[in-house]
């Protein structure tokens, strides 16, 4: 019996206090539907049970993953996605558009906080009882009573000729002798993405940190509407430049599901190769950057050198250093020749050898040890409460990986080893990445050895109106989910990608507490959230 069955057969009193012994499943439209999302159960409930579901779900240790809404005529469809033991469920409810409101799940799941505020800003849906009713994605580019994702909001909107700065956001304040505030950003000192951080500090000690993101909101969800599958895949590949492969894969997986297209085996293996190469490239870059943030430039130089070599092979074999647009709907755009396979194999040997020389120097470096161990500690409890994923979760004992726990091809044909650490500090997040590089190298090796012959793409089939899909893959930052609904004529009606950063960013506010302000950059780098992927 899997957990959905257990969950459904549990007697609960919240739905009908008069018959507390009846199982939940009996109350809410019988059993869970297994379509229309063919890999994930969709469970439609009444809006009044929305929060109650969350209360039961959190008690059952379900992980909150994402929420998104959609307009259908005079109604809004609201979805929330949960997972337990690799089984996903999409909870769905329909609410009236005249007075759109829904009990908040953020009261129970802190991870739902920003997502509900995003839905509030973009659709004008009010979440009753939400612990924080400030705006989130909206700054000053559109008016309080305008909602960009509603159908009557034109793509061009009516923006002012110069969008004013967002100066009146109500930040948490610190009071008391010696407490001072440090505002940072949106333009930072380094070559990084824009966002605002507000610190309250005493001396060098961080008392509180509040993130204010949304500066790179590009209207991705809105401009996705009306696109063709090819065009959506290109857009998905630009949600977050460092995760181009995985976002593109998730979006294509969703579209392929909706259209009922099966991707040829060879293409799936090539997707696996590029996804793992992307993971390695990013880990190399981040490991160098973490060392650089504590002034250990030797490692920075070595890692950026290895990353450059790695990207050059990408360019030779796949025609793009960051692997953009290699994945396309129903397949991949580049085949790999025998010669390319040799090159890819040589790369594996090269990287293993190089790392075997560099890592001992890092491991034995006492100043690194001093700076990285115990700094930026994220407890397993907080990591779980926020539903953190990827290396952030895995460094704090969250043993989850889509590639193993909700396996999708080609990972079902190889053994996936999931790296895990439980110290929860920057060092853990550093070493998890190293372990992941090794695991990815093994995966690539297996993919090359098992690479089946055949086509690299299939003809596209126009999906029927209203068909939906949910792509779930593991990117270098962790689980990505991507929701797609088609409208008429092969055109996208709704696209919602949930970057792992959306659930990981809030953990940064927690893990910096008690650290000193000068350690913020390295704390931040160890988490490395995507601003673009968060802001959409």
């Amino acid at each position: 019996m899997n957990w959905t069955t257990t969950f459904l057969t549990q007697p609960v009193s919240w739905v009908n206090p008069e018959m507390p012994d009846k199982p939940i499943g009996d109350y809410i439209g019988g059993l869970v539907q297994h379509s229309p999302l063919n890999n994930v159960a969709v469970w439609q409930i009444e809006d009044k049970h929305w929060q109650q579901f969350a209360i039961t779900a959190v008690a059952e240790n379900l992980r909150w993953i994402a929420s998104w809404a959609e307009q259908a005529d005079k109604q809004f469809i609201v979805n929330a996605c949960f997972e337990k033991q690799g089984i996903y469920i999409v909870l769905r409810t329909v609410i009236n558009a005249t007075k759109p409101e829904l009990p908040s799940q953020a009261t129970v799941y802190p991870a739902a906080n920003r997502s509900e505020r995003h839905t509030q800003d973009m659709f004008g849906i009010h979440f009753i009882g939400h612990p924080d009713n400030r705006r989130w994605t909206r700054h000053q580019a559109w008016d309080k009573h305008q909602y960009p994702l509603r159908k009557d909001f034109p793509v061009q909107g009516e923006p002012p000729s110069i969008t004013p700065p967002d100066t009146n956001y109500d930040f948490v304040k610190g009071y008391g002798a010696g407490v001072y505030e440090i505002p940072v950003g949106p333009v930072h000192a380094g070559i990084i993405e824009p966002g605002h951080f507000r610190f309250q500090a005493v001396g060098e000690l961080i008392l509180n940190l509040e993130e204010r993101l949304g500066y790179v909101h590009k209207g991705i969800e809105k401009i996705a509407e009306g696109r063709t599958p090819d065009s959506l895949a290109r857009l998905a590949g630009r949600i977050s430049g460092d995760t181009t492969v995985s976002h593109c894969w998730a979006a294509c997986m969703a579209m392929e599901q909706a259209a009922g297209v099966s991707v040829p085996n060879r293409a799936l293996f090539i997707r696996g190769i590029v996804a793992e190469r992307e993971r390695i490239a990013n880990h190399l870059g981040d490991m160098g950057a973490i060392c650089n943030d504590v002034a250990f430039t030797f490692a920075q130089m070595q890692f950026t050198r290895l990353r450059e070599l790695w990207l050059r092979t990408n360019a030779t074999v796949f025609g793009h250093r960051l692997l953009m647009d290699v994945i396309v709907p129903a397949g991949v755009s580049r085949d790999v020749s025998e010669l390319s396979c040799e090159l890819l194999k040589q790369d594996i040997v090269m990287l293993k050898k190089e790392l075997s020389e560099i890592m001992p120097s890092i491991d034995l470096n006492s100043s690194l040890e001093d700076r990285l161990y115990t700094a930026g500690y994220l407890s397993p409890e907080i990591a779980a409460a926020f539903g953190t994923v990827g290396y952030v979760g895995r460094a704090s004992g969250q043993d989850f990986d889509v590639r193993r726990d909700a396996v999708y091809p080609p990972y079902n044909q190889v053994t996936v080893k999931v790296a895990l650490e439980d110290q929860g500090d920057i060092a853990s997040r550093f070493w998890v990445r190293y372990k992941e590089i090794n695991a990815s190298l093994k995966l690539i090796e297996q993919f090359i050895n098992l690479l089946p012959k055949g086509d690299i793409s299939m003809p596209w089939i126009t999906p029927s109106t209203d068909s939906e899909g949910l792509g779930i893959v593991d990117g270098f930052r962790g689980e990505i989910i991507s929701y797609v609904r088609f409208g008429d004529d092969n055109k996208i009606a709704r696209f919602y990608p949930r970057d792992p950063s959306i659930v990981n960013w809030p953990a940064l506010e927690k893990l910096v507490l008690g650290n000193i302000v000068p350690d913020f950059p390295v704390c931040n780098k160890s988490l490395n959230g995507s601003y673009s992927g968060n802001d959409l």
């Binding site: 580019a141 061009q156 209207g219 050198r305 673009s532």
Partner: protein, 168 residues
């Protein structure tokens, strides 16, 4: 320590030669101001990079300019933390509306004479995102642009050529 030294010695110097762009390439880069830069900056420029809404792909390649293969500092091009120290703004992204004022302020904070380089298709023409309720599109819709470097993202070599074009 010995391990580190050994690795440094065995790695050697990987920095590569990079040819300055030719006339035709300069034209393709849209550089008309080279003469002024030559005169005013005596062969060295300070750059402030501004991400005004990019997907971060462009930043990854701008970062690569500092890796040992390209080592762009050897040409007198360095990145600074404040626009007040900069000669050149390197701007990426389809200027998100939420970054519009920040970009304008950064531009104002940069002392004259200054130049703006728009990096990446998004910055050059709006790219995949174009103009919408959320994006202003090309950087030139917000501040004057002197040089454009196309590509999604432009490779480090393309960036290098574009920047060297300002100097050589």
């Amino acid at each position: 320590m010995l391990n580190i030294l050994k690795k440094i010695v065995t790695t050697g110097i990987v920095t590569e030669k990079c040819k300055a762009p030719k006339d035709a390439e300069l034209e393709a880069l849209g550089i008309e101001i080279k003469r002024h830069i030559d005169k005013k900056f005596s062969g060295s420029i300070a750059i402030r990079q501004v991400d005004a809404g990019s997907c971060n792909g462009c930043e990854l390649e701008i970062h690569a300019l500092n890796n040992p293969f390209y080592d762009i500092e050897r040409f007198g091009i360095h990145f600074v933390a404040s626009p007040r120290h900069a000669d050149v703004l390197l701007v990426t992204g389809p200027v998100s509306r939420h970054m519009q004022t920040a970009l304008l302020r950064t531009y104002d904070a940069t002392p004259n004479p200054k130049w703006v380089v728009a990096v990446g298709d998004c910055a050059v023409c709006g790219g995949e995102f174009g103009q919408s309720y959320a994006c202003c599109g090309a950087v030139s819709n917000v501040i004057p642009v002197d040089v454009t470097i196309a590509g999604c993202p432009p490779t480090p070599l393309a960036l290098m050529k574009g920047l060297l074009g300002l100097l050589v």
